[in-house]
Amino acid sequence: MIEGEDVVKQYETGGQILTALKGIDFSVEPGDFVAIMGPSGSGKSTLLNILGLLDVPTEGTVRLDGEDVTDHTDKQRTLIRKQTIGFVFQQFYLLPTLTAQENVEVPRLFDDDEGISERAIDLLERVGLGDRLDHRPNELSGGQKQRVAIARSLINQPRIVLADEPTGNLDLDTGKQILDEFQNVTERDVAVIAVTHDELVTEYTDRTVNLIDGGIR
């Protein structure tokens, strides 16, 4: 479904060129639950950003449903992100001014969407935060914020969920709850790609990709 072919990403800093991804082939199909593992700085977040159409590769091609989206305009890529992709960021990035429920609704706030509140509440209940709907992020623990972020990534009914360390801040039980939730969505043909250091995650995933120094091993 989403596919990167020979993806190279280079960063230029102070005249030096740093190659973060060295020609990666990667693809996921609907319903796949894939873990990306690797040491810090190996390019995991970079790959996730490229697959999530947040960033463009220096070389190589990204295809969505067979269509080359590498050279799409910002506007087109933004629309695809909205329709197809859900993000869970390494630092959650909730909006501090909004309640948990509003944070979940954020991606759809600009659409005239009637059932949005019910869906947001339902999602928060599924990640175990049914009693925290009106809390602001500063009134939530790290793990609770993480779960709000996960609920937010699912509100647009994406076909791909990209999660950077989704269980990084969670205890074992809550981690399992989240992973169960991810597994549930993969059963509805949603692909989940999770960057992780957590061996627990690999118990749930279909396969694990090891990224070392910008290359897949």
Binding site: T78, L79, F87, F89, Y93, L95, L98, P107, N156
Partner: protein, 381 residues
Amino acid sequence: MMERLYKRFPALLMARRNITRTKVRSVLAGLGIVIGVIAIASLGMFGVSLKYQLSQNLGDIGNQVIVTPAGDEGVQEITRRDVQRIERASTSSTVVPVKQRVDPISFDGRGSPTHELVSGMSHPAKTYTASEGRIPDPLRSGAVIGSDVAEEHDLRPGSTITVNNSTVRVKAVLESRDGFGFASPNNKIILPASSFADSGYDQVIITADSGTAANQSARAIRGDLNERRKRVNVQELGSIVDQINSAFSAVNTFLIGIGSISLLVAGVSILNVMLMSTVERREEIGVLRAVGYQKTDVLKIMLTEAVLLGIFGGLVGVVLSIGAGLAINHYVVNDVMATFRLQNMLYVVLAFGFGVITALVSGFYPAWKAANERPVEALRS
């Protein structure tokens, strides 16, 4: 109600939350707008009041030209020939020559007489209208008096006054008119010209149909009578009124210019606040972009914030300026309700509009900057 509004304009919800997040900072930014709006509105209203006050004093004498002998050149009187030349020069206007002297007058027939300025005219009916009685044309006997004189001494047509030890009957009381100084009919005492011994005149009043016609006559008279040697002074009230008006619009433009500078400062402070807030919220904006907000959506949110600041600042400013307007009109024109005259309200609306536009314009650069940040860059920290 708010819920519905937010559903309808989600940018409003986010903008409001963001503004209230840093209350002190927002209030300070809004304060700039408040001051700017007050400055423009109240300076504008001040100018309007002054002008109104002045033109009220001047009254409707703009179409009169008054010719007096050039005393500084040694000319003592306006001769009959002069009057004829004035009549020729000012076509289609009424020309009324006036003699003047100071006479001892007793208004109640008893007591010691006071000395008053008396005018001698043979055709007062040409320039004045009566509110009581009838002005004989020509005036051969009796007296015609201004409304202030009548009121002060309780006189009406039929009453008698004593001028120069002879009894004179009041024929008519003149209609009161707005005006000032020598042009005002309100304190005139008019006797027949024939009761004056000398043959020359002290004043010629020319009444034209309009200010422009008056101006033409004045120029013609100056050209004719003062051609070789200055014989007469020609005073034209219409041009005084025009000069005052244009002086006041210059003053007003200047005052509003000063007000606009304070709005400029307000704009800079909003720019500053918004820039700070885009830097602080870099990541949040990055997230919005990541989850599918277009650049225009981000632009909308940020501009809504700026406009909200402008609207709130502007509204507070409007309320305070109306307060200032009430005070100004109370002290300058002595009429509090004059604040709500259309011209004043136009200034208030103008000031409010400027305030909101200033906020919008100064919000634009920060908003544009926030919208064009690449989300990957914003989300790396």
